[in-house]
């Protein structure tokens, strides 16, 4: 912007304030949403709510099978999407020559990331549930979530692997390491905190999905044991409680549990990746 009519000093101050204000607004929105959910939800939460079985379709009782369903689909989906996403990122940086193919793969990942989750859900129903005959199950839902998570993990990992300084790579080759030894022992450890960030982004997206899993996971309120059992993750439970008018307080309780789980995952991984990073860099 060009503020010719005011001095550079004043325009500097105005821009400072605008950016500061955007920061404050963002933070305020976060605080308001978190506070609202926790104020409405926390009163419902007690040991019985967390560890109890679902009763009366969720109007009473607890949400233990729901929490287990959520952790189940999230972990399983990340187990599937991580090797694929990280593998594709390694291929892009270390093996592929930059050209048409890499551009197509990168573009494909962008498109994959922008497909609405309900469309993924519908695909999951017709492909995994019906065509592959996996049924309404934790496994079908995990596959849908895994496909959704791949582009995130891939994109973040690629940036992170690409930013590993080439002097490390040269040092490794200079000592007679093979390509795979260099990738495995030098590149991946140096890129680890970035890769973990990608996995966490994929995880928090997976754990927050209702639309993508609603056609694939069934809607069972009993405890899922095998990966072929149906289940009902937290967001789906919350959606059903609210839309079917079963219990708004319990919907908020469920939302609060979901938010707390996401916060725990985020804080823990940030803590550990930072510690790892500091140890590597000798801080």
């Amino acid at each position: 912007m060009n503020f010719n009519f005011i001095s550079a000093k004043i325009s500097q101050k105005i821009m400072n304030s605008i950016f500061l204000l955007s920061g404050i607004i963002t933070l305020t929105i976060l605080v308001i949403i978190l506070a609202y959910i926790l104020i409405k939800g926390l009163p419902v939460i007690n040991l019985e709510f967390i560890f109890g079985q679902v009763e009366n379709q969720g109007a009473s009782g607890g949400i233990f099978p729901i929490i287990v369903s959520s952790l189940y689909v999230t972990l399983l989906s990340v187990l599937i999407s991580t090797p694929l996403g990280v593998g594709a990122a390694i291929y892009m940086v270390e093996y592929a020559n930059d050209g048409k193919l890499t551009r197509i793969i990168r573009f494909g990942a962008e498109i994959l990331a922008s497909i609405p989750s309900i469309v993924y859900g519908l695909f999951g129903l017709s492909f995994f549930v019906i065509f592959l005959n996996l049924g309404w199950s934790i496994f079908s839902a995990s596959l849908v979530l895994a496909i959704m998570g791949i582009p995130t993990i891939f994109q973040v990992s690629e940036v992170s692997i690409r930013s590993v300084p080439s002097i490390y790579v040269e040092g490794s080759y200079g000592l007679g390491a093979t390509k795979w030894q260099t990738i495995y022992k030098v590149v991946l450890p140096a890129a680890l905190s970035g890769i973990v960030t990608g996995i966490i982004l994929g995880m928090t997206r997976a754990i927050s999905e209702a639309a993508a899993v609603m056609y694939a996971v069934g809607s069972s309120i009993t405890m899922p044991i095998s990966i072929l059992d149906p289940g009902r993750p937290l967001p789906l439970h919350l959606y059903i409680l609210a839309t079917e008018g079963i219990s708004l307080p319990n919907a908020f309780g469920t939302a609060a549990v979901l938010v707390i789980i996401v916060l725990i995952i985020t804080f823990l991984t940030n803590y550990f990746t930072e510690r790892y990073q500091n140890k590597m860099m000798g801080k």
């Binding site: 020559n97 300084p165 002097i167 490390y168 040269e170 040092g171 490794s172 080759y173 200079g174 000592l175 007679g176 390491a177 093979t178 030894q181 022992k185 030098v186 450890p189 140096a190 140890k279 590597m280 860099m281 000798g282 801080k283």
Partner: protein, 250 residues
């Protein structure tokens, strides 16, 4: 006994002809300095010896480059083994973001060494040979990234020595270091000469004259003159060499 013999070596990056008809010999357990202005091809030449240029897809070369009597560019040459025998120290200290110990143990581990006692002993010997043992012996499990630049460079030399190489290539190893660290590395080169054949690229004329037995002067991808270091610096045969050494260009 010649350690390295180069005859009619030409190298190319794509269409660019970088090194032109290089003929060069290095005797065992000597230090050879490669001098010349930036972009003259001395680093490219250094990286031809351990085939680091292979990492650049457009690289091509012809001619002969012998290590002892083995052709470095022969199809049956094992590049992994070559780079173990011909170690390299880079311009910018590049320890891995790992502990000091693991940096030195890296070469042993990738070549399949599993005996932890042997690795321990070898790491200690290598750090001693690189004159850095006393400074790091109490913090071997700390990250190498916490060391000063000069210490990092000596650690990189230790890392190279741990592989028990025959030749050590140094690509301007002191250009990122302060004068005191530079002197330490130069002293180290004098020590290392007893057991290794060293080729060092340097921009620093004084350094070349201090550390090397032989010097080759590169210009525009050609070797203008090679000879004993005193001869090159005191009575160069070529006018170009004299002009460069006396600082008239470069």
């Amino acid at each position: 006994m010649e350690k390295i013999t180069v005859e009619h070596l030409n190298t190319y990056f794509g269409d660019a002809h970088i090194l032109k008809d290089i003929n060069f010999k290095v005797a065992e357990n000597t230090v050879t300095a490669l001098i010349g202005p930036s972009g003259c091809g001395k680093s490219t030449f250094l990286r031809s010896i351990n085939r680091m240029n292979d990492l650049i897809p457009a690289f091509k070369c012809d001619g002969t480059l012998l290590l002892d009597d083995e052709d470095v560019y022969a199809p049956e040459m094992d590049v992994v083994d070559l780079r173990r025998k011909v170690g390299m120290v880079f311009q910018k200290p590049n320890p891995f973001p790992k502990s000091i110990f693991e940096n030195v143990a890296y070469g042993l581990r990738i070549h399949g060494e599993e005996d932890e006692d042997f690795i321990k002993q070898r790491v200690e010997e290598s750090l001693k040979s690189a004159a850095i043992w006393d400074e790091v012996k109490d913090k071997l499990d700390k990250s190498a990234m916490g060391l000063s630049g000069g210490q990092q460079q000596r650690l990189c030399i230790a890392r190279t020595i741990a592989n028990n190489p025959e030749v050590i290539l140094m690509d301007e190893p002191c250009s990122a270091l302060d004068p005191i660290s530079t002197l330490k590395i130069e002293d180290l080169i004098h020590e290392l000469k007893k057991g290794y054949t060293i080729i060092i690229v340097t921009h620093n004329m004084q350094q070349a004259s201090r550390v090397s037995d032989y010097t080759s002067f590169f210009l525009n991808g050609e070797i203008i003159e090679s000879g004993r270091t005193e001869q090159i610096f005191v009575s160069p045969k070529e006018q170009k060499t004299e002009e460069y050494i006396t600082g008239r260009f470069g």
